[in-house]
């Protein structure tokens, strides 16, 4: 079944074919990415910022930022 891959001269072709497949996937994905609409991009790139992060000084956590708790009694407020 794999005779030609192992013993034949066509092994060089196999590498080229794999390279071709990888390149086509690269081009396809790049094309898809380049066609993304501005609102779509803005939505995705804003996702890390949709959850407010407390300030690093620990003194004025942002709204909805954090909730003090005991390690032994984690509370779910939903």
């Amino acid at each position: 079944m794999f005779t030609r891959i192992i013993y034949g001269d066509s092994t060089a072709f196999f590498t080229i074919a794999a390279f071709g497949v990888a390149t086509s996937i690269f081009i396809t994905i790049s094309w898809r990415a380049l066609r993304m609409k501005r609102p779509q991009i803005e939505h995705y790139e804003s996702l890390p910022f949709l959850t407010a992060t407390p300030a690093a000084d620990g003194e004025h956590p942002a709204a909805g930022g954090q909730h003090s708790t005991s390690e032994d009694e984690p509370q779910l407020r939903t």
Partner: protein, 774 residues
Amino acid sequence: MSAQKTTVEFNDKVVRQFLLASVIWGAVGMLVGVLIAAQLNFWQLNFGTSFLTWSHLRPLHTNAVIFALVGNMMFAGVYYSTQRLVKARLASDFLSQFHFWGWQAIIVAAACTLPFGLTRGQEYAELIWPINLAVVVMWVVFAVNFFWTLARRNEPSLYVAIWFYIATIITIAMLYIVNHLAIPTSWTHSYSLFGGVQNALVQWWYGHNAVAFFLTTPILGIMYYFLPKAAGRPVYSYKLSVVHFWSLVFVYIWAGPHHLLNTSLPGWLQDLGMTFSLMLWAPSWGGMLNGLLTLRGGWDKLRTDPVIKFFAAGVTFYGMSTFEGPLLAIKSVNALAHYTDWIIAHVHGGTLGWNGFMAAGMIYWLIPRLWNKPLHSTGLANLHFWIGLVGILLYVGAMWASGITQGLMLNATTEHGTVLTYPNFLDTVNAIRPLMLMRVIGGTLYLAGWFLMAYNLWMSIRGAQPVNGTIEVFKDEPGHAAPGGLSVAGWVMNPPVLFSVLGVGFACAWMFGGHFVSIAGLVGTMFCAVVAFTHFEARRNAWGDWYDRLLVSAVPFTVLTFVAVVAGGLIQIIPTVVIHRAANVEDRRQIPYTPLELEGRDLYVREGCYLCHSQMIRTLVPDVLRYGDYSRLGESIYDHPFQWGSKRNGPDLARVGGKYPNVWHLRHMENPRSISTGSNMPSFPWLLSNALDVSTLPRKIAVQRQLGVPYPQWTDAEIAASVDAQQKAIAKDLRDGGAYVAPDREIVALIAYLQQLGHYEKVVPTGNAPTLAD
């Protein structure tokens, strides 16, 4: 439909736990690293004990920094960012805790077994089979917790960091399970299902992609979340991140064979490994630039903010390592660099620079937010950065110089390339001693920086109140699917998937089929491509819509990612497993070990000899001049596990059998310096005093037979008689050489194994088998 406003409190307790574990285990792992680096300079630091010997501690170091430092850091980052990106608490508090404590138990188990020589003998896959099973269970727990959380998410869109986490989870599961397939012979020992070249290919498919999908993709996900948060601005280009992800996950998996260049691995696999490694330059640098450019407009923070410092340097080291990796995968460069310290420099540029600095940046960013208290000292964090950076530069610079020196000296020839310039291997060892010492200093500095972080962390959280993040979300009624997601039928019944499946099917028929099937496959492939293009031109919206809906559908996205990563592995492994068996071997075939030699080989694996000595003479003139005729594929076909090695701290042993008398080996193992003045090899005196345990030998031979090694149907008595006869013969020869040792000592079995290395039988062509001439 009505929406209910609720407040979700995140499970940050498990994030804190993993974060602390990462710092503690990281310190342990790197401490062991500094010790083993020092042992290469000062052999006395092996202390003449088995469990503190270099070759027993080296697997502990690599496993600790990979699975304990980076593993725990990764879990902390994944759990923290995922909850916030999908606006949902982790699905199960029980699974979260089970995951944390289970993972720590695995680390402890590794620390209790590796120093005592309980190993599978494959790099980064050394843990014995019961621990392997525990790792698989814990990984499944992690996966269930993660995907269950995605299923409960309150944000339909999947940010690119989540994509990288998904790729990590499914790919590591696949790699780990396949590479650890084995048949146990006892509670602490097993033989790999794969042998020889098959084992080599599968091992480095795993080993390379453990770097890719354990040390890289999760950290990239962490970069895409934490770097924008720290910089206070979105990622530079989301489009670039999409290209980065798909090209990286597709290309990475093919590159494993670059660890086996110029060996007896079939040439087409070496070509594939090199080609795909070179292609990795593009996505890797795309990701690196995307990370660095996210800091646009915020470079001033570099002066003051240690988090930005660590992230910027970490991403820069990522770029450096991913430039160096493909460079080293070029065959001619690899001929110089492989088996030398250059590879050590490459690995540590990635682990210390990319993994270590990204971990430090993330930890410094998280500390105030998880404990609601400012960092104890920004100055100490900055000091950590500079000490760590100087440490890395010393380490990597020393190993670059050392590796290139080793490569040049070992490959140097004179007399028109017919004579080695430096025939004594120890010449190279002595030449790089100052550089090895510089590595110890660099590593110590880096470790000192890590301890500063641990102190800063302790001072910051001491007396602080742990806090969990919260978010208010609008929950839809239960059972409502995410808007725009793909239904089950929609996963499959759409143009991109159908045409891809058809195209791959026809292409396989073309490549692997017989004459008629091959022609039909070629025609089908061309027909499929034309129809797909025509359909795409006519129905662009259907194709584009499918992709957009995929981005909010976790399960089909995961399946597609799995297809992307599995393709490379299958195309490389299946032909190798099917065709490269002993029955098909040409030219030379390994002679199965005698029972005593098999026990000796297990001792060789136990003592970690493969970590310093390769058994693979490459198809390179200097290798052949130094070690003998180049290694053939069939000469290790029965080796479970293979022992080709990846580093030469000492010479290759593929043809050491018969080169020296038995007594030479005994003296050498007892005290290497009594034979080779200036050697840095540890002494192994316990081999002369330990009695050989042959109680599981019948079971071992039975398993070998199951694996295809042509042992006869020996009875237990026949096995014992064979062992006894060979032991007595070797003991007598030792006695004649002036060394008395009881026949049942471990050293006798090890000598039996070493003296057999390089022996083979000639294969007589049957006439039916294809030959190279065909």
